[in-house]
């Protein structure tokens, strides 16, 4: 077996099938590598809810802006969050209005900053899935240890499994899933066994090189065509069947699950993680956003895009009123947002 063989196979004739890549980084790699252009038109790749930025509710952005506008408070955020629209404006626009927003590469940076500027309080905008969640727990641990009182956590943390369950339960057109590679590093490849069994869909855990993805697609196509539904770990260099036990313990020790609102989708039971009783004092008002269902009245069809029901170019606003320069929905904003990726990497 080699790459040429796989390419030839995938370009050949196939039954109609839809494969969802859950993770936005996979979506991005698929486009950067021009993988769609290498596949038979029968093999459709559709993009799942795997962009933590895209699923963050508007009310979360509003709350983050509120902190950033409060004197002596600084909001620390990853760069991707800057352009996500809140109900009034984005963090980038708020910053232009005088809000104090600093971009971080790692939440660890909060510790140094907080120690150096005791008169300021740093609110970390904690978004992410299981890959990122342990890193917030590590910051809390160090905050406790160092006695710093000027770090707070505004969380919009999401669990992948309940979302996948939700998709499997509501949509039957998806034939197979490319499981998110780095989330799987934490959760382990065996985490998908339950879904595979219950919904009889194959899962392939994949890495992020073009070859990784082609291998996963090949595997899933073969599984579907042969009516198999197994979990295949095709990223064994970093994904173990049982995942990262230390990281999972950190998640369990600091957070508890609860319902959460996924932008464009709605509330999914048990899909959010919140600081538990013991660490609640570090929370910057995240729990109040748990039941949030507020949404700008807009025709944005992000929900359907995230669930893989439509492709971005089926949204009437795509590329017309909705572009990365003036995003109408979060999927157009993020580097990982499906609409944004489609816009940037395809064109007449």
């Amino acid at each position: 077996m080699n790459l040429d063989h796989i390419l030839k196979e995938l370009a050949g004739d196939h039954q109609e099938l839809k494969i969802m890549e859950v993770c936005g980084t996979h979506t991005s790699s698929i486009f950067k590598n021009g993988i769609r252009s290498l596949l038979s038109p029968k093999i459709r790749l559709i993009s799942g809810p795997g962009c933590p930025v895209c699923v963050t509710p508007a009310s979360y952005i509003d709350k983050a802006i509120e902190w950033a506008m409060t004197p002596n408070y600084v909001l620390l955020t990853f760069g991707d969050m800057m352009k996500v629209p809140g109900s009034e404006k984005s963090l980038s626009e708020a910053k232009a209005d005088g809000a104090r927003v600093e971009i971080m590469y790692s939440p660890q940076e909060a510790l140094k900053k907080a120690a150096a500027n005791p008169e300021l309080t740093y609110v970390i905008a904690c978004v992410g899935f299981e890959t990122t969640i342990p890193s917030y727990a590590l910051v809390i641990e160090q905050t406790e240890r160092s006695g710093l009182t000027n770090i707070k956590f505004l969380t919009a943390l999401r669990r992948v499994m309940p979302a996948l369950d939700f998709i499997c339960a509501t949509d039957n057109e998806i034939s197979a899933f490319i499981a998110p590679g780095h989330v799987s590093t934490i959760l382990g490849s065996q985490a998908y066994a339950g879904l595979t069994e219950q919904y009889m869909k194959p899962f392939a855990v994949a890495g992020f090189e073009g070859e990784h993805i082609l291998i996963a697609i090949y595997d899933l196509v073969k599984q579907v065509e042969n009516h198999k539904h197994e979990v295949h770990n095709l990223y064994p260099s970093v994904v173990k069947p049982e995942g990262n036990a230390v990281a999972l313990a950190y998640i369990n020790n600091y957070f508890e699950s609860g319902q959460a609102f996924w932008r464009g989708i709605g509330v999914i039971e048990d899909s959010g993680l919140y600081l538990n009783q013991k660490y609640r004092k570090y929370d910057a008002g995240s729990a109040d956003l748990a039941g949030d269902t507020a949404q700008k009245t807009t025709n944005c069809r992000c929900g359907e895009v995230i669930l893989g029901k439509i492709n971005p170019d089926e949204c009437p606003m795509f590329g017309k009123v909705c572009t990365p320069a003036k995003a109408q929905g979060p999927c157009m904003v993020s580097s990982e947002g499906t609409c944004g990726i489609w816009f940037r990497f395809t064109r007449k």
């Binding site: 790459l3 590598n33 021009g34 990853f78 760069g79 991707d80 320069a325 990982e336 395809t346 064109r347």
Partner: protein, 329 residues
């Protein structure tokens, strides 16, 4: 010693600053007259004029500083139009709190770079604003198109070759590394492109157009070229030169070298039949050893940039949206 507001008063403190610091490095017959304008001799060539402001932080970085940058940036824009740089103006906006020793080093560097580039600083200005020790420099350049050759996007035609003079993203990665305190050995590529351009022109290479690959990166420059010339261009992903250290830096922060700025690289569009020779000329220059033929102009009337990927796929290269910020996903 630091810059205080009085240095911008126009009075004694301003005069002392100019006399003690700027004059030390920038003195020449034109500037020393200290009149409201410099008077320059009559020229027999078409004039080329350009300007840029430089707002980089930190002010000093591996491979250069804002003074060197301020000269190279404007000198390069003149060369890109096929014009030989002659005269430069320099406007300094100093923020209160700016360290005077730092300013001294920057002005020394600016002076040195200008001398090496053969451009004379004929007018200057200094202002002081409230702030935190920052410094902005604007330079405007005047050059003469002595070759008489027409160089511009309007003469680009189907089949022309695209050459990049070296590795992408070094300046940008260098600056971001400094700001984020990431330790590496990446240096800004900040440089005067003049010698390379002169070599190409003197060798009679049919140069259609040139662009220095600055803010917005190669991705943006290619789109500008495609739009201005109304031609499609296609490049090969695997021919895009990026240093592994820079590539890795980009991966860490989720950035794309295609959109990262250089300050000493340019895109050169030549007639296809001159491409090999142009490439060889560039490679002989110390700044051009990594020059690569990256693609060609493929179609008239369709301003689109595409890339053939490593795996044989094809995709569009759009301009940069938003800023290149470190991202989690």
């Amino acid at each position: 010693m630091k810059i205080v507001m009085a240095h911008g008063s126009g009075g004694n403190a301003t005069r002392e600053l100019i006399k003690d610091l700027f004059h030390k490095y920038l003195a020449n017959d034109y500037l020393d007259k200290m009149e409201d304008s410099a008077i320059l001799p009559v020229s027999e060539y078409p004039l080329a004029m350009t300007t840029d402001s430089f707002v980089v932080t930190p002010l000093e970085f591996p491979g250069g500083d804002i003074g060197k940058l301020a000269v190279c940036g404007t000198v390069n824009d003149l060369w890109m139009a096929g014009a030989e740089p002659q005269y430069l103006t320099a406007g300094f906006i100093l923020e209160e709190g700016l360290d005077l020793d730092l300013l001294d080093r920057v002005v020394a560097s600016l002076s040195r770079t200008a001398k090496e580039a053969g451009i004379k600083i004929v007018a200057g200005d200094t202002k002081v604003v409230q702030g935190n020790g920052g410094l902005y420099i604007n330079t405007a350049g005047l050059g003469f198109r002595k070759s008489g050759r027409h160089i511009g996007t309007d003469v680009i035609r189907e089949g022309d070759a695209l050459i990049v003079s070296g590795d992408l993203g070094n300046h940008h990665a260098c600056i971001m590394s400094q700001r984020m305190e990431i330790v590496n050995s990446i240096q800004s590529d900040c440089a005067n492109l003049g010698p390379m351009v002169e070599d190409l022109l003197q060798a009679g290479i049919e140069v259609r157009a040139m662009r220095d690959i600055t803010r917005g990166g190669l991705g943006t420059v290619l789109n500008e070229i495609a739009e201005a010339s109304n031609h499609a261009v296609e490049i090969e992903e695997k021919s895009i030169p990026v240093d592994p250290e820079v590539k890795s830096f980009c991966d860490i922060l989720g950035l794309d070298p295609l959109y990262m700025a250089n300050e000493g690289k340019f895109l050169c569009i030549t007639a296809q039949e001159h491409a090999e020779r142009a490439l060889n000329i560039l490679k002989q220059n110390p700044l051009g050893t990594k020059a690569r033929l990256i693609g060609s102009v493929t179609e008239t009337g369709k301003p689109l940039v595409t890339v053939k990927t490593r795996l044989g796929g094809k995709r569009v290269i759009d301009v940069l949206y938003g800023e290149g910020l470190p991202r989690i996903c």
